[in-house]
């Protein structure tokens, strides 16, 4: 049994964890939930050995241990399956599974490849993944890579006598529904061999797979429940410390679109990605694009912002025919883009909020050809107030903001640039519930102000809740189109039918 006893950890003045105690019993799946910043990631880092607690004890079968580094954590039977996936894509599956554990395969100073591959095959069999271990990890899809990571974690079995605990950090966030089902099936089968800690934002999934659930809030464990005895809304209320409002997606604020079309696609195609996509997006309209990975919807959003120019078909912006070859052209045409990778594509995290707000339209902060810092500051402060960005000042580096506030800075950039078309690429990914709701409000504000919005989202529920119109894509083609007016929203199953 793995026990944490009163673990605390501070970063400067911020207490990330405060007297956190929890236990993981043999053959158990423990769910760990909490809003962003509740301390889940810090806790996982401590457990995986990549960070040391300031105070408190970690006990394995009643004996206190020090998880000095990830290797030591492994020796104590704790392995982490990373959210961002840690496989080396240029190496084979077998090499990945036994990375830094090649010793048993050494013969006369060289690695016995054949034996390693055989051992890898046995590991893969444990997770029920039927791929050639000699294959490069990069050739596998995301779901298979995750299984390889799981196999890698299970390979620990042969190296330690300690009970195995596998940490899963948001394993389902990039998986499709069927892959999630498969992962859960494997986890259940593997409970005889290991215990799991399952961290996720998706409460339904947490409830489905877990035996017990710990709820964290502001660095503390605020509740521990048997999964059988609680509902997702209950958990949610404990997590945020308040009830979810009934009007989650602000449907009451959904106003009908205006008449004028600002973005129109006619038979838009990108060879190898999607084909023959047509739509007419009006001012004030939110157009959702639903589809699984590989449906072409991700590429479609990239095309609409100039990352991936169309190979055939027509794109009209404000009635003018255009081929967007670069994002620079897209911005000049009045398009804004909220990427899913907030810290990579969304923001330059090491420059100020003000500089990020004016990044797309620096000319607004310029006078006589030079940057006017006063003007820039006042623009930034206007948006900080208007979007209620929590920061001591406009000069603050974006790195220091929370996820929700960072997303607001990205939105502020395009609002400041007066972009009349917005491409929202998974705009609420990784945000906690409170921050999500603020983004929903902003989307309604933008729509009411006449912005035309194309939205893709991680959940169908969100797409249906937010959008006026929904395109469903499958295998690169549009398979259905739904109207989704307020109070007459289509059902998820209706969309799903056309997705898979």
């Amino acid at each position: 049994m793995l026990e944490l006893d009163k673990i605390s950890k501070s970063f400067g003045a911020v207490r990330a964890l405060r007297d956190v105690s929890l236990e993981v019993r043999p053959h158990e799946v423990v769910g760990l939930i909490g809003e962003n910043g509740a301390g889940k990631s810090t806790l996982m880092r401590i457990l995986s050995g990549s960070m040391r607690p300031d105070a408190g004890a970690i006990l394995i079968d009643g004996r206190q241990v020090v998880l000095r580094d990830p290797k030591r954590a492994n020796e104590y039977g704790i392995a982490m399956v990373f959210q961002e996936q840690s496989l080396l894509l240029n190496m084979s599956v077998a090499e990945n599974i036994f990375l830094a554990q090649e010793k048993p395969f050494m013969r006369l100073g060289a690695i016995d490849r054949r034996r390693m591959i055989e051992a890898a095959r046995a590991c893969l069999a444990k997770v029920g993944l039927d791929v050639d271990p000699a294959m490069k990890a990069g050739e596998l899809d995301f779901a298979a890579r995750q299984m390889v990571e799981l196999a890698k974690a299970l390979a620990l079995e042969d190296r330690t006598d300690a009970p195995l605990t596998i940490l899963f950090d948001e394993p389902t966030s990039i998986l499709e529904a069927k892959d999630v089902a498969m992962l859960f099936e494997r986890m259940r089968a593997l409970k005889s061999r290991a215990s799991f800690i399952f961290v996720s934002h998706r409460l339904e999934e947490v409830l489905e797979i877990s035996d017990r659930v710990y709820v964290m809030k502001d660095g503390e464990v605020v509740a521990e429940r048997l999964a059988a005895g609680v509902s997702a809304p209950d958990l949610h209320a404990m997590m945020v410390g308040r009830e979810v409002k009934g009007e989650y997606y602000r449907e009451a604020r959904q106003s009908p679109p205006r008449a004028d079309v600002v973005l129109e696609a006619r038979g838009l195609s990108v060879a190898g990605a999607f084909r023959d996509v047509s739509f007419a997006l009006r001012r004030g309209e939110v157009l959702g694009v639903a589809g699984v990975i590989g449906s072409g919807r991700e590429e479609l959003t990239r095309t609409l912002f100039g990352f991936l120019p169309q190979t055939s078909g027509t794109l009209l912006i404000d009635g003018r025919e255009t081929v967007l070859k670069t994002p620079t052209q897209a911005v000049a045409a009045g398009i804004g883009y909220i990427p899913r990778e907030r810290r990579i594509e969304g923001l330059v995290t090491d420059i100020s909020i003000a500089a990020n707000v004016t990044l797309a339209r620096l000319d607004l902060a310029m006078r006589h050809g030079f940057i006017d810092h006063k003007r820039e500051k006042s623009i930034a402060e206007y948006w900080i107030n208007r979007l209620r960005i929590k920061t001591p000042s406009a000069a603050q580096l974006c790195r220091n903001l929370s996820g929700g506030n960072q997303q607001k800075v990205v939105l502020a950039r395009w609002m400041a640039a007066r972009s009349h078309i917005l491409i929202l690429d998974h705009p609420t990914r990784g945000l906690d519930v409170g921050a999500k709701e603020e983004v929903y409000d902003l989307i309604r504000d933008l729509s009411a102000a006449g912005a035309a919005i194309v939205l893709t989202s991680d959940t169908l529920e969100e797409t249906i809740g937010l959008c006026h119109t929904i395109l469903v894509m499958r295998d690169g083609a549009v398979t259905a189109r739904f109207d989704a007016p307020a109070r007459a929203k289509p059902k998820q199953v209706a969309l799903l039918e056309h997705m898979v």
Partner: protein, 325 residues
Amino acid sequence: MAGAAAQQVSFGGLADRLRPYTPLFLLVFLIAGVNAAEPGFATLTTLSVVLSDASILFILAAGLTFVIMLGGIDLSVQAAASFASMIVAELLPRVDYAAFPATVLVGLAFGLASGFVHVKLRIPSFIATLAAAGVMTGLSLLMEDGRTVSLLDQGREESAWIAGAWLFGVPNVIVIAALVGAGGMLAQRYTRFGRYSAAIGAGEPAAIAAGIPVDRYKILAFGVSGAFAALAGVVLAARLSSGSPDLASQLLLPAIAAVIVGGTAITGGVGSIGRTVVGALIVSIVRIGMTFVGVDIFAQQIVFGAALIFAVFVTIDRSKIGVLK
């Protein structure tokens, strides 16, 4: 910028807070150290020598600073400077004062060309500029069969003013460097080029997604580097009264050192022209100060290498860099 630095304070510890100023402390410490060992050091005459030396190094490194901030490297600055010394020596008798801007434009053109090769042909800047250095060195050698061209010949006296002094005996080299420094700092704070350089260096994908024409600004940075390197070559030629294919060949490492020691991260993102001013002064003081206190000329390289590592060790927050390459 000052505001940004001040805000960082509330989040970082003491080390973070002091880090941007460590090069400055190091500079003061070095002056005090050399002066303690050899009390004649901190006089106007010696400082003027140090400043003149630092000025050339700074001009050479000024444009390079932008390239490094963007995450690239320009290994052709010394070749560009030598090439420029040859060109200005050849042009002066023919076109008089127009030789100066013409030479700087040639530097700009070569810089833009290597930037273009790097960005558009997607060749690492390390290789693109190394190749450009080879081309420029080759051209310099071809011009006069590898010979040095004296500026003291007839018709080349137009360059004399550069080596002279203008007001209160301040060498004009220092005045030129001050103008370059002021221009660079203003460019950094008040122009698109300065802002975009910082943004691209700190987060290129985000800069692209904000619609910044990243390729164009990267190429421009290499052009600026080439132009300033050529300017440094002109100044150097005037001071030494000659153009030569290997005039600046010993200056590549000191120039890179000036940028890095000043606190601009070799990984890009963090940096400024102001830091390079301090860096150039540090490098010059180490070089001249050692001669002053009598360190053997051969041993100086050892001290120099150690000082470089020490400076980078104390100035750059390596904890934010995950993997060093």
